[in-house]
Subunit: 125 residues, 2 copies
DNA sequence: GTTTACAGTTGACAGTTGTAGTCTCTCGTG
DNA sequence: CACGAGAGACTACAACTGTCAACTGTAAAC
């Protein structure tokens, strides 16, 4: 897992992370709850548990003001890049190329995607 | 998860799957054990448990001869494609393109990889 | 034929995850 | 200032995972 992270981020926890990643600033529990209660149908208690676990794992920082405010300690890019690397290691023999090759041969990409990617490869080196 | 699969394939179970995927034919427990005991440092009991769980999940077929022989019920491609799609859904907003873009911008690919991929995109349509 | 050596089955136990309730404390409102 | 709502801390509990041991057959070896 990403450095400084004790244990993986689970599926449910990831939903919380995504919210924090896309927030402008730190969020209070109330704010987190407002977003997730409806979106995911979770009880307040569940949301608190998930946030606490993320704090224990070192994925989220807890900052005391009137009330605790929470912000991500690891970035979406950092986590994404770890998760992708993990997938590549576990399933594609460590070859990122194989992953992309599999994508290209699968339903995963539309013709338009392929077009775009081709463009990307032209520009980057 | 892939169709016909009851529950995810866990990390340890995946090691068994990989062995079965790369085997020429079905393998007996003995053969599975021979490979994994050393490679992973697992006790025979552990290996048996993993295989049994895979059978329950419908990921592996059990075929009685003198002794049971095991073979995959879902293919590596099928599973890889599901796992990749799952990653894309959970982390890349459903966009395979975003995943590849992230890869291109990360350490994940060497210059040679990029070269190869560029070639791939030239050939495919 | 008795022993040995596994195959197969069942049980086990601790840690993680999904989901949530309870108890206490504090703060804003009447 | 008493009260109610929500914050924070702790507890709960079933399912899944990582590991493995014990028991029960059976088949090969002596």
């Amino acid at each position: 897992m990403p450095k400084d992270l004790a244990g993986k981020i689970s599926d449910s926890e990831l939903e919380v992370m995504k919210l924090l990643w896309h927030a402008e600033a730190s969020l209070s529990i109330t704010e987190i709850r407002e977003h997730l209660q409806q979106a995911k149908g979770w009880e307040p208690a569940t949301i608190k548990t998930l946030v606490s676990r993320l704090v224990s794992k070192g994925a989220v920082r807890q900052e005391k003001r009137n009330v605790y405010y929470y912000s991500p300690l690891i970035s979406e890019e950092e986590y994404g890049s770890w998760a992708t690397g993990d997938l590549i290691t576990r399933l594609y023999n460590g070859s990122a190329r194989d992953l992309v090759a599999a994508l290209v041969h699968s339903e995963g990409l539309t013709k338009e995607d392929i077009e775009e990617l081709r463009g990307m490869f032209r520009v980057e080196e």
